[in-house]
Symmetry: C2
Subunit: 173 residues, 2 copies
């Protein structure tokens, strides 16, 4: 079934820069059946081991993150770019091709020992998600899984994430 | 019931700048029951008049947008900041306190005559949502409703949106 979802992913050559083929998920989001099926499949492994909260990273991680949280009966925690969250935050930085980037989470977002499912649309190099997992661990969260709609396996993002239960619905080798 | 949701909204004084009291929705997102109830109440008026797609604006509009789309059995269309959407886009600009801002939508996002529900977490001055509605109308979309979790009624955002079916779960006068 996940392979059927692949036909809703559109290749955009040379985006965001020359030589890169961008995997555009908007046709999948636009299709009622493909969207509902994707959310269900992201939830399925955790139906009998439900997380207390689902964490998603701004901006595209918000799309599936909250939908998965609702389907699993969990809360949703947004991780955001610096200066966006209004309450006290903790931050983590990660390397980009050139320079670094930072993400933030509210310090009261995760209760100690809470079971946490991390969700994003895309696993590329894994830098953002590794930083997000660090924020959750630092607050005492127990990460029960890290789930993606799409994985670009050739970028080896899994290696950066370590020993979690890492899943993706659609893989490009 | 919507009034019960109010206790999950946290006031943050002087954010993002001095004199403004920010309505922080993250405690509501974090609470399983309040989150699920909010999504249901956003959907309720459209259960018997379902949209073909739900539209949400980056970034916080993605949180409820996709969850509402899934609950209603609709597709989800993201409107994004400039340069983020990979395919051909249409854009609309709107005034800020100082300067202007621009948002973009894929040109193939809305089928002509499609019924569209617009969703965001917050109605403040209404500038962003008015521009989003313009993008949808320009593609021939039929806006059946514009729904918010929170409305800051004292900012008169409704006036900027015109004659739509505008709803909000929590209102601050």
């Amino acid at each position: 079934m996940p392979e059927m979802l692949k036909k809703f992913i559109r290749d955009i050559p040379d985006f965001p820069k020359k030589g890169i083929v961008f995997k555009d998920i908007t046709p999948l989001l636009n299709d009622t059946t493909a969207l509902k099926r994707s959310v269900y499949l992201l939830c399925e492994p955790y139906l009998h081991n439900r997380p207390d909260v689902v964490v998603g990273v701004e901006a595209r991680g918000f799309i599936f993150g909250c939908a998965v949280a609702c389907e699993l009966g969990a809360g949703f925690v947004p991780i955001r770019k610096p200066g966006k969250l209004p309450y006290e935050t903790a931050s983590a930085s990660y390397d980009l091709e050139y320079g670094t980037d930072t993400i933030e989470m509210h310090v009261d977002a995760i209760k100690k020992g809470a079971n946490v499912l991390m969700v994003d649309d895309l696993l590329a190099t894994g830098g953002t998600m590794a930083a997000a997992c660090e924020l959750v661990r630092n607050q005492g969260g127990n990460i029960i899984g890290v789930s993606f709609l799409v994985e670009l396996a050739f970028l080896n993002g899994r290696e950066k994430l370590g020993d979690y239960d890492i899943r993706s619905l659609i893989t490009y080798d």
